[in-house]
């Protein structure tokens, strides 16, 4: 699945497209706790979150996550946008809530890739 596929499935708005929109995403993680993301997420993931602060982008950068989706139409501020652009991480937002957004991606074949699965 590519970032463009995610945009289509989640009917997402593109907040920042500085990054590779055709990059492949192999797994997904839905979480507001960044320590859980650091502990369990594989690389080439998409991160779905309702947390809107710069540490979301830093966490994604450390994990080589190339795409962040903010759920419930949460909109990041300018500082977050600039950091994401600097790190070439695509930012999207979707009107769907976390459970539904995750479910939509799961039903389209994306898995968590968690060691526990």
């Amino acid at each position: 699945m590519t970032v463009n596929d995610i945009i289509r499935i989640l009917e997402a708005d593109v907040i920042s497209d500085v990054g590779d929109m055709d990059s492949e995403v192999h797994t997904a993680c839905g979480s507001d706790m960044m320590s859980d993301v650091l502990a369990f997420v594989k690389d080439q993931s998409v991160l779905l979150t309702g947390l809107v602060n710069p540490q979301v982008v830093r966490t994604a950068d450390m994990m080589e996550i190339r795409c962040i989706v903010f759920v419930r139409n949460k909109t990041p501020d300018e500082s977050i946008l600039e950091l994401a652009q600097e790190r070439e991480i695509v930012l999207l937002k979707t009107r769907f809530r976390m459970f539904t957004a995750c479910g939509l991606l799961y039903s389209n074949g994306l898995r968590g890739g968690c060691e526990l699965e």
Partner: protein, 141 residues
Amino acid sequence: MSQAIELHYEVPGDDFTRAGEASSAVKRTLKKLGFKADVIRRVAIAMYEGEINMVIHAGGGEADVEVTSDRIYIVLSDHGPGIPDVDLAMKEGYSTAPDNVRTLGFGAGMGLPNIKKYTDEMVIETEIGKGTKLIMTVLAS
């Protein structure tokens, strides 16, 4: 790499939005030096967790990184309150972070366990009332 590269960073404790800058800089340096992606990732995550801990619990500190061709050696030092019970602090889910930190996405009690998971060696030197030194080694081979 014929000789070690030494990097030093001040980690400010008064601005949570800037936590992670040092780890990010180290990650970019390792990428330029051509280290394997897996090694870079492990170093970045471990150092980031340590840096966040320093900001949350100790009011900031200093990060010193020594890079050689076969290992990355990281020392995070602070003058915070120290860790009363290291074994307890190493337990997944145990956290002394204030509630406001949880609203920022941290404080889940996974920091030190994550660091242990991603490094080849981790040593904690701590003294109550004086501060903590977290020493991490990630092997490059």
